[in-house]
């Protein structure tokens, strides 16, 4: 029997003088994972940008539970987005979207 893949949700805050599109954030996270863990690692991460609020510069990212520490390390290693200095801070990590929103 195939077991259900458990997920984890990250609440992220993007810090930069510039404002970015959803695609820029997604690209930055993906390339950080690939840079640190390679394509094999990225294939296990199950990354998905659930939502992005351009105004608040906040995002929700989903990943596989078993890749949690890998994704966390990659996300915080982002220093640039579209060649502009940017930082991503992890505000919360939760097992469900509902709990994540409650905590926020």
């Amino acid at each position: 029997m195939i077991r259900r893949v458990k997920q984890r949700y990250f609440a992220l805050k993007i810090e930069s003088a510039e404002s970015f599109e959803e695609g820029d954030v997604r690209d930055a996270v993906w390339s950080a994972v690939i840079q640190l863990f390679g394509q094999y690692g990225a294939s296990q991460a199950g990354l998905f940008l659930v939502e992005y609020d351009k105004g608040k510069k906040q995002a929700v990212l989903r990943c596989a539970q078993r890749a949690l520490s890998m994704v966390h390390a990659s996300v915080v290693s982002v220093t640039k987005m579209k060649d502009e200095p940017a930082t991503i801070h992890v505000l919360r990590i939760s097992g469900t979207l509902r709990a994540l929103r409650k905590k926020r």
């Binding site: 810090e15 840079q35 520490s69 890998m70 966390h72 915080v76 220093t79 200095p85 930082t87 801070h89």
Partner: protein
């Protein structure tokens, strides 16, 4: 509640505005105690000004000096001159004799090594054995891990991984610091502990490298620098009224 410490916040002490910004950011990210490296000849009123800026941001300020001696004689002279002036003394080891001398000297709190040259990172088992018998800890700055790219970062991660494994086997304490001059490279303690998985450090070990271990260094030195200190295990409890 865990008290997180960043012993190497390289804030520019001459630029009050940037310093204030970095100190405030450190507090927002969850640190409660920051060590700012100062030049050995900095005036006392400047240090007090720094202390005031930190206390305004609800942070505990730790004075720190980074020694970069050219030889062991210079190291010993600097330690003799500066040990009682600063709460934390770090030695940047650029050669093996300096690294060995720093590791066995009980006046040294932190050992740090060049980032760009992995061959000049002299933290091997002999160094760890000397450090384990004294009070020195291995300091890992996280800013280079974030700012370097490609081959340089790979080599740095590999060197740190080896050093952390050696430090663990010889029970040498490891301290994780930001080591950043820019607020863009500052991260939360939890984020640093996630990054520590890159060099195979357990999250619990990483947490203590960000809290208990640096805190114990600061407390130990503050006790030694207090006027009541006589010798290890001996202090003045009460003075006779004049």
């Amino acid at each position: 509640m865990t008290k997180f410490v960043d012993l190497h916040l390289c804030a520019p002490f001459r630029d009050a505005e940037q310093l204030r910004r970095m100190v405030t950011k450190s507090f927002e990210l969850g640190y409660r105690l920051v060590g700012i490296p100062l030049p050995p000849n900095l005036e006392v009123d400047k240090v007090e000004q720094l202390r005031k800026i930190c206390s305004e941001a609800a942070l505990d300020f730790v004075s720190r000096v980074d020694l970069t001696p050219k030889n062991t004689r210079e190291l010993l002279a600097s330690l003799r001159r500066l040990r009682r002036k600063f709460e934390v003394v770090s030695v940047f080891c650029i050669s093996k004799p300096i690294a060995r001398q720093a590791a066995k000297d009980r006046r040294v709190d932190l050992l740090s090594f060049p980032v760009a040259k992995p061959r000049n990172r002299f933290f091997d088992s002999a160094e760890a054995e000397l450090a384990s018998e004294s009070l020195a800890s291995l300091e890992i700055d996280m800013a280079p891990l974030l700012s370097l790219e490609g081959y340089l970062r790979i080599r740095l991660i590999s060197s740190i991984r080896r050093e952390v494994a050696i430090a663990k086997s010889f029970r040498v304490p490891v301290v994780i610091s930001s080591g950043t001059t820019s607020d863009f490279l500052l991260r939360r303690p939890r984020d640093y502990s996630a990054l520590a998985m890159l060099f195979d450090m357990d999250p619990s070990l990483a947490f203590s490298a960000l809290s208990e271990i640096p805190l114990s260094i600061v407390e130990r030195n503050r006790l030694k620098l207090s006027p009541d200190f006589v010798a290890p295990g001996l202090r003045v409890v009460r003075r006779r009224d004049p």
